[in-house]
Symmetry: C2
């Protein structure tokens, strides 16, 4: 198998992570019922997906349990209730949770890996939080977890800041450094530039490069493909692109592209029909015009989400005028 397989073959090292519950949960304060989470879990197993990120390990002090659902904290008993005696080897699926710098009681909240169904902790952080992120990665590694480093909002910081973060992450035990386009702003050439920068900084460390895309400009899937073509071996997606604002790279498109026969699209299509499409009755996501606008302007989609929640939700011109006047 060549190192850079063309679109008709595949790289066996390429692994797919489903973050429907973790990232998609930002749409509804992680108030998914157990049946949905279990359905996503079973779909991941049936579809041959490599990792499922079941939620955040975030602090109940900061995210109160009467306001946020269980997947904001991923207490061991909540996970166990849904995935039972999860067996990563038998199912081929590893479970992951994300811990944010400054939002997680990581010193106390995370049990040793052998006592948890979780195989991986992904550490999410902004550039200025990199020192805490390094400690978190080392701590989780010592507890026996695989780790990834997710530097968020990369479109909003300087190249110098990126370089500094990469230098700090390179010597850690993190298995993967992830390109995270939080604002869904990156165009093809920027993905190229970042991939090359990340790969060069991690050279010789054995780390993989990951890709986590958002769909504000309808580029989440394309940017994920771009990263794959360049050599990224860890890619994130969510079922039907479920996610806050414009959402994420859709799993059904990604699996439709990947040629590794271990992946199966049919269980995903079934999940979309039975569980994900029906969510549209209560929550909205997708690459709507206001998200196109914040994406193109390299802004957090917050203002677009607020606008879509208001009375003038379809007055795209009003939103455009407001947001360009703010600039």
């Amino acid at each position: 198998m060549p190192d850079k397989a063309p679109w008709i073959t595949y790289r066996p090292e390429l692994k797919v992570l489903d973050c429907t519950i973790r990232d998609g949960g930002l749409i509804n304060n992680h108030l998914f019922d157990d049946a949905l989470v279990r359905a996503v879990y079973e779909t991941c197993v049936a579809a041959g997906i490599d990792y499922m990120e079941i939620g955040y390990k975030n602090s109940p002090r900061l995210f109160a349990k009467d306001e946020y659902g269980p997947w904001r904290h991923c207490e061991e008993e909540d996970m166990q209730r849904v995935v039972g005696d999860h067996d990563a080897e038998a199912t081929g699926l590893k479970l992951s949770a994300m811990a944010d710098a400054e939002k997680s009681d990581w010193r106390h909240q995370i049990v040793p890996a052998e006592q948890s169904p979780l195989d991986m902790i992904r550490v999410a952080f902004y550039a200025h939080q990199v020192s805490e992120a390094v400690q978190m990665i080392e701590h989780c590694h010592e507890l026996g977890y695989e780790t990834m480093a997710n530097l968020m909002a990369v479109s909003n910081i300087t190249e110098r800041e990126i370089d500094t973060v990469l230098s700090a992450i390179a010597p850690t035990p993190a298995g993967t450094m992830v390109i995270v386009d939080s604002f869904g702003h990156l165009y093809r050439e920027q993905i190229d530039m970042l991939y090359r920068k990340y790969a060069a900084a991690m050279e010789g460390t054995g780390k993989e490069i990951g890709m986590h895309a958002h769909n504000n400009l309808q580029l989440a899937f394309a940017n994920t493909l771009e990263a794959i073509v360049l050599g990224a071996n860890r890619v994130d997606a969510t079922m039907m692109g479920l996610g806050r604002g414009a959402g994420n790279c859709p799993m059904e498109l990604l699996l439709g592209f990947l040629r590794n026969p271990k992946f199966s699209l049919r269980p995903v299509i079934q999940l979309l029909r039975d569980h994900i499409d029906p969510l549209r009755e209560t929550v909205e996501w997708g690459a709507l015009v206001p998200y196109n606008i914040t994406g193109a302007l390299n802004l957090h989609p917050r203002s677009a989400m607020q606008f879509r929640a208001g009375e003038d939700r379809d007055d795209y011109l009003k939103f455009y005028d407001q947001i360009t006047a703010d600039e």
Copy 2:
């Protein structure tokens, strides 16, 4: 300005064609009212768009006038009623119509360019129709029109067929050879392969390479960007991606990316609010799951459109099972 401008500058040679009415009209038999067509026209002028394709020059024998709207035939009086004394020089906007091989009475239907508001005729054809297409291009050129050659459904023919078509088009007076992804099937590496093939075949002829993408895999905008990065200088888009099935490359995304200050996004956002979004009450388009499936399988979206018109429209799994059983 460098030949291959990075994403922060621009190539002045890059020209944008709006085909909302022509290609979008396949969604409703071109039964747009004059107000909508005029609004698109005025938006194109205000936004600095280079070409507007106002419809097809197709045969009224094959497309009866009591069934199809005026933009299926583009009679001179219909165009005049909407665009009046259109002045390409004063407005910066050229008008175009598309004529299909075998579907157009091109020998009789097209008047000399000096008698028409049209500046360009685009000739659309399948590979086996290339001989008629060459005659059409020569005929329209003699009538004083700029011409483009649009080889359709390129994902469905062999490289040898593509090469033969390109050899036949190269010596014609066509100004542009367009990559047309009718099924919305092409991935990034295939766009690269086709661009290089088209560019090599047209080398020395002075022809530009164009890109016309469909959104079945949410890749219309990304593939258009890819072609631009490679050097394509003629790109198609429609307002809000309006188009049959999954639709087209959205103009608002394209203009949000292009850095030539002659383009203006605001009039497009206004048009979306006032004229295009309201169309969703009567017609459906977008990268829905059934179109994702036909796109990934390299199939015409016809079956997906029929499915979405039926009672089981949301039963994606049924559609998936039907179409994969047919294969």
